[in-house]
């Protein structure tokens, strides 16, 4: 072996480069064939009309024009492809679950960060939906959401029967629910305000304490006055909800919230929770001790120590979720709703699939793919620019 190498007279560097070439080759060829070249081909295809049976024809920016542009119709601006914009709206709507789910995962992680017996068991159970995620789980949830025989509606009806059998219980129940709604709404508003304040602080814009308090009190007042005014309708709505629960996946207004709710259940103890747990375990205990000496309570400790120190994780999860969320939703909708009812659960990814593999309009589908790519690119670049300013790194 050694003698051979000496005979060929290769220098050490050349041999190393040659070896590297050999090691890289399989991956690099695949990388060329299935990633880099397809990206270029895809860009070219976006400017053609092609139904894969005939040869493609160049159409210039026509695909993008019909995808993204507007035209005038009876004096109003109308999108050239109204479906596309509806599906973009659906995709963005479904991402409402991201911040809620992150808050939930953070709360679970905070609870599991305590030294408790059996915490591993809890972690495993909470992680179960993530492990099982896939078609089987979606079938299960389709069944749970079934209007007639689903577990969710069965439970709601059972509750309804008991609560609405007597007037007094019904009224008390309504009041309790209304107050609970109010508290939750106030909590969300308060949380958003606190978050906005933190973000502003990092951007060197300080809100005075009185403004924060005034805004919170005003929001609370508005919420509870509204609840008081609408008491009667709340009663009716709740009554209807329990006696005749909605057809979750079958109605336009409930389909998207149902999918979000399922996502919250599935994601609560999933990847994000584990990431948060890891981040929390990385916060040095000495910082809490220092905060305690300064007289900070648990609430102050969280906002002054924990939250800033785990902000890189929050940021990472948020960005990844937005990137994944924007290009997702096909499997869920395809298994559970077929994109319906009335296209209310069709996402951009689903539209791409339909365009490419049901209508075989490859050019138009490529244009949709590049729209997705552009959005993801913008999100990533913004992250790069803004990341350093909003996030506190140690």
């Amino acid at each position: 072996m050694d003698a051979k190498k000496r005979k060929t007279g290769m220098t050490y560097q050349r041999r190393e480069a040659l070896a590297a070439f050999g090691f890289l080759m399989p991956n690099f060829l695949g990388f060329l064939a299935f990633t880099s070249l397809p990206v270029i081909v895809s860009l070219v295809m976006a400017f053609t009309y092609w139904n894969i049976f005939k040869s493609p024809s160049w159409v210039g920016i026509e695909n993008f024009q019909s995808l993204l542009w507007f035209h005038r119709e009876a004096g109003r601006l109308v999108p050239n492809d109204p479906f596309f914009w509806q599906y973009v709206y659906n995709t963005v709507f479904l991402m409402v679950g991201i911040p809620i789910g992150m808050a939930g995962s953070l709360i679970v992680a905070l609870m599991m960060n305590h030294r408790l017996r059996g915490v591993v068991v809890f972690r495993t159970v909470y992680f179960l939906p993530t492990v099982c995620s896939g078609v089987a789980l979606l079938i299960l949830w389709k069944y749970l959401y079934n209007a007639d025989i689903g577990l969710i509606n069965k439970t709601l009806r059972l509750f309804g029967e008991h609560i609405y059998s007597g007037k007094l219980i019904a009224i008390v129940f309504t009041a309790v629910c209304a107050v609970a709604f109010g508290v939750i709404a106030l909590g969300i508003v308060g949380g958003v305000l606190a978050l906005a304040r933190r973000v502003c602080e990092n951007l060197r814009i300080i809100w005075p304490e009185w403004l924060f308090k005034a805004l919170t009190i005003a929001a609370g007042a508005v919420i509870f006055v509204l609840i008081g005014v609408c008491g009667g309708s709340i009663y009716t709505v709740l009554n209807l909800f329990f006696v005749q629960p909605p057809d979750w996946l079958g109605t336009v207004q409930w389909a998207k919230p149902s999918l979000i709710l399922m996502g919250l259940w599935a994601g609560l103890g999933g990847y994000n929770m584990i990431l948060y747990l890891a981040a929390l375990q990385g916060v040095p205990g000495s910082m809490y001790e220092a905060a305690e000496i300064d007289g900070a309570g648990p609430w102050a400790k969280f906002w002054a120590v924990t939250w800033p120190l785990i902000s890189p994780t929050t940021f990472f999860i948020l960005v990844m979720s937005v990137i994944v969320g924007f290009q997702g939703g096909f499997m869920t909708a395809n298994v559970m709703t077929n994109g319906g009812p009335a296209g209310s659960t069709t996402t951009v990814e689903y539209y791409l699939y339909q365009t490419a593999f049901e209508k075989f309009n490859m050019g138009y589908a490529s244009a949709i793919a590049w729209f997705l790519f552009a959005v993801i690119l913008v999100v990533t670049l913004l992250t790069w620019k803004l990341g350093g300013r909003v996030v506190t790194y140690e």
Binding site: F23, Y126, V135, A136, I139, A278, L377
Partner: protein
């Protein structure tokens, strides 16, 4: 974190238990439904029953009046969905695909992490950049390319495009960079070539990273939905998710069998999870910190 008082500990447990129940109830309902008779699921009235009415029942339609046990939905679903074939398909695709991806990724990662060659950092940056490209951008050209090869509805088409992962290369490269170089130098002095170093020094030292990548890649292949749906036509090639999907299409209301089938589909993943739990948790942390 500070020590908890007793009432705090108790309320933490209560909340965590409530959450755990929320997580488990759907699965328990799945199990419960899978051992019921169809008429029990559709039965009128809103009552919730967790146990089947009878543990032995007469199934006149499917079995010609023979008596079946409570688990009878399972063999039925097994036959109806032809699970054996789906399993074999899925296992074949996932095992070959995972092995191939880990192999090519670890080779490339070794070159990027441990060898010097001109243009290395630029090439690595190109790899990193492609991690941003959404799968839907490359999917259509790859489909067209494979159609050109005549690979539609073949195992090659299910496996080969998934063999090359920029993410896997990136992750392993980060891990390889952190390995001490002493052992590598020792192997060099002993006359080991590059292949020897890669196979006998680098890979054995990287077991945690390799296990993590293997677990995630396997899960990716196993759960992959869109690509198999696009690329397979006939039943023989369908993987588990696609088979289940078609079963739903045909028996959209036969929930007892659907639940039995879904349970059967979940068992391998659950087993994998139970035995590899450590790697899941470590892997997630690894991806989060490095990403």
């Amino acid at each position: 974190m500070s020590r908890l008082r007793l009432w705090q500990t108790i309320s933490l447990y209560v909340i965590l238990c409530l959450g755990a129940i929320t997580m488990l109830v759907p699965f328990l309902w799945m199990l419960s439904t899978s051992v019921k008779q169809p008429h029990e699921v559709f039965g009128a009235g809103g009552g919730i029953k967790w146990l089947p009415e009878h543990f032995f029942w007469r199934d006149a339609v499917a079995n010609g009046g023979s008596i079946r046990a409570w688990w009878g939905n399972y063999p039925d679903a097994w036959r109806e969905i032809s699970f054996l074939r789906l399993y074999l398909s899925s296992i074949f695709v996932a095992v070959v695909g995972t092995f191939g991806q880990v192999l090519t990724s670890s080779m490339a990662a070794y070159a990027f992490a441990r060898l010097r060659f001109p243009g290395r950092d630029k090439l690595f940056f190109a790899y990193l950049a492609t991690m941003m490209v959404p799968g839907s951008v490359t999917m259509i050209p790859v489909f067209v390319l494979l159609k050109h090869f005549g690979w539609i509805n073949t195992y090659q088409a299910l496996i080969i495009p998934g063999l090359f992962s920029a993410y896997g290369t990136f992750m392993l490269r980060q891990f390889f960079m952190g390995l001490p170089s002493d052992l590598e130098d020792a192997a060099k002095i002993d006359g080991s070539g590059y292949i020897g170093i890669w196979a006998r020094v680098i890979l054995p030292l990287s077991k945690p990273a390799l296990a993590t990548l293997t677990t995630f890649t396997f899960m990716g292949f196993w759960g992959n939905y869109m690509w198999p749906l696009v690329i397979t036509i006939t039943e023989e090639l369908r993987t588990l998710p696609i088979g289940l999907r078609y079963f739903v299409g045909q028996h959209s209301t036969n929930y007892t069998q659907l639940m039995a089938g879904s349970m059967i589909a979940l068992i391998p993943v659950l087993l994998l999870f139970i035995f590899n739990q450590r790697y899941f948790v470590e892997g997630i942390k690894l991806s989060g910190i490095k990403g």
